[in-house]
């Protein structure tokens, strides 16, 4: 089963990490992802640039183009992982592990994926 693990956290807090701390966290996450990849269970992983760089295109009628992210909330969508796991429990366990490696506030949303298409060049 494919799951998306969506990472939400306070952008303010994460972006105020000094570089050493950011590198440290990325290294810890990298170690986990290396393992998951070796098990053949890892799909695309993305870390998103700040929401200030985001543009939102509303659907429907006028298709308005707005500056900023879709939702203004205390925590923002900062990135995501796509993983291939046997069960929800396994996905939750992985989300826990990732969360521990980051060690900040925020949350991981675990969402099953209905349709997935990877670019042909990938993999």
């Amino acid at each position: 089963m494919l799951y998306a693990i969506l990472c939400y956290d306070s952008e303010d807090a994460v972006s105020s990490w000094p570089k050493e701390k950011d590198d440290e966290v990325m290294a810890r996450l990298g170690a986990i992802l290396d393992r998951v990849e070796a098990e053949g269970r890892l799909g695309p992983v993305a870390r998103l640039l700040p929401t200030t760089a985001a543009t939102t295109v509303r659907k429907g009628g006028e298709q308005l183009v707005l500056d900023g992210p879709f939702a203004e909330t205390k925590e923002q969508l900062l990135g995501f992982y796509v993983v291939d796991v046997e069960s929800l429990d396994e996905a939750i366990a992985l989300a826990r592990e990732l969360g521990q490696a980051v060690g900040s506030g925020g949350a991981h949303e675990v969402r099953p994926i209905g349709h997935f298409r990877a670019p042909r060049s990938a993999g």
Binding site: S10, A13, S15, P50, A53, D67, S104
Partner: protein, 416 residues
């Protein structure tokens, strides 16, 4: 992962918002800062046991406000100090405070906090030092190091700046639209100055001052968070990101400046460039150009060029032209001359430079560029004079070395 590391990050992130709201409440910079410090101390005690609050800024504002009131009362010996326990149950109060302190209000609060640091009576260096201390929360030692002065001297500078601000009083009324725009303009300029303080450094001091570039980017990001649809704020952040993206390539091992065309573009920071390009694209959609956007657009053209030869100089010349129209300045004209040189040739560039001689007579780059143009036209005697004047005005060893190379080449050409 320790709790303390997380808390440090959360406190730093909440600082501008919390100090800004406390300033509105206490109407005094020192009290607001003290209250914030007090709230931080309590956070360090409470958060590890209670877990982090959902809205750290709201928690700090509320606790800071109470503790500040305590301190004031203590000073006046009016009522006994409130029990710590009275502050322990913040669940509802916190949510309520967060609701009250809605986005609009935060925006004016933070803008005000940044604006009071930009008091026109303060020289630029004091504005910057004050903003770094109050808004960014850098320690006096960190700021002193970045400004290459002693801790004591910086402490005094900040104290003097604070006294001046206190004397002038803080503008508390909620600003109208025009006033808000004016304040934003002043604050953007201050952020740009912070960046330049770090960016203009070279030599052994450069690494030490780099912290200023990072802080300026943080402040610009904060401003954009407050004014997410303001194209000039997007332009400012884009400009800082695109310039800072080159930092690893723009100084050599000795800390000497490497010219743009000689830089190893592989060392440019791709992530910062991506973000900068996205921001300038966003800004341009608004079709309300301004000086920061135009400068960012110029930086973007350099960033997009994989090699110096691939640079779109024609577009850059046009953008400088546009910038000149909005903000006439001989320095901008001089920059345009460099682009014009690439597009229309030496004569056209020299025609732009000659009229600037009077106004930019004391400017290193004018004489350096003029010398190079005259050299290319074979007017060697005049070129040598220009280079000699440039050397006399050079601000760094790298600049001297650069002009020396020109002079040596002139001498060789004459011998040949």
């Amino acid at each position: 992962m320790s709790d303390l590391a997380w808390i440090d990050g959360a406190l730093a992130a909440a600082r501008p918002k919390a100090v800004a709201a406390l300033l509105r409440y206490f109407r005094d910079l020192d009290t607001a800062e003290e209250a914030f410090q007090e709230a931080c101390l309590r956070a360090l005690r409470k958060w590890p046991e209670q877990g982090p609050p959902r809205d750290p800024a709201a928690w700090l504002i509320l606790v800071g406000r109470n503790s500040g009131v305590d301190a004031a009362r203590r000073a006046k010996r009016l009522t006994p100090i409130e029990d710590e326990a009275a502050l322990s149950d913040l669940g509802d109060a916190e949510a309520e405070a967060a609701e009250r302190l809605d986005g609009e209000r935060y925006r004016d609060d933070i803008l005000r906090l940044m604006f009071v640091c930009c008091h026109p009576d303060l020289p630029a260096t004091q504005q910057i030092a004050l903003a770094l201390r109050i808004v960014s929360g850098l320690t006096v030692q960190q700021i002193a190091r970045a400004f290459l002065v002693g801790d004591r001297a910086m402490e005094q500078r900040i104290t003097r700046a604070k006294a001046r601000v206190a004397q002038a009083g803080v503008p508390f009324e909620t600003p109208g639209a025009v006033e808000r725009a004016e304040r934003l303009g002043v604050v953007m300029k201050m952020v740009y100055l912070v960046f330049n303080e770090g960016y203009s450094a070279s030599g052994a001091e450069a690494r030490q001052r780099e912290i200023l570039c990072g802080e300026a980017i943080r402040l610009a990001r904060l401003l954009l968070r407050l004014f997410p649809v303001e194209p000039e704020v997007m332009g400012l952040l884009a400009l800082l990101l695109l310039q800072h993206a080159r930092s690893a390539a723009r100084l050599d091992a000795d800390g000497q400046v490497v010219l743009l065309e000689d830089q190893d573009r592989g060392l440019w920071n791709g992530k910062a460039i991506t973000e900068g390009l996205a921001l300038i694209d966003k800004a341009m959609r608004h079709r309300r150009p301004g000086p920061y956007q135009i400068q960012a657009a110029i930086a973007a053209l350099h960033a997009r060029a994989a090699t110096p030869e691939a640079t779109d100089w024609a577009q850059i010349a046009l953008l400088y032209r546009r910038l000149e129209e909005i903000e006439p300045s001989p320095v901008i004209t001089l920059n345009r001359a460099v682009a014009v040189l690439k597009v229309d040739g030496v004569e056209a560039a020299l025609a732009l430079v000659e009229p600037l001689r009077e106004r930019l007579g004391g400017y290193f780059y004018l004489h350096g560029l003029r010398g190079a143009l005259l050299e290319r036209l074979g007017r060697r005697e005049e070129a040598r004079e220009a280079f000699q004047r440039a050397i006399a005005l050079a601000g760094s060893a790298a600049e001297v070395a650069h002009i020396r190379r020109h002079l040596d080449r002139l001498a060789q050409a004459e011998e040949a």
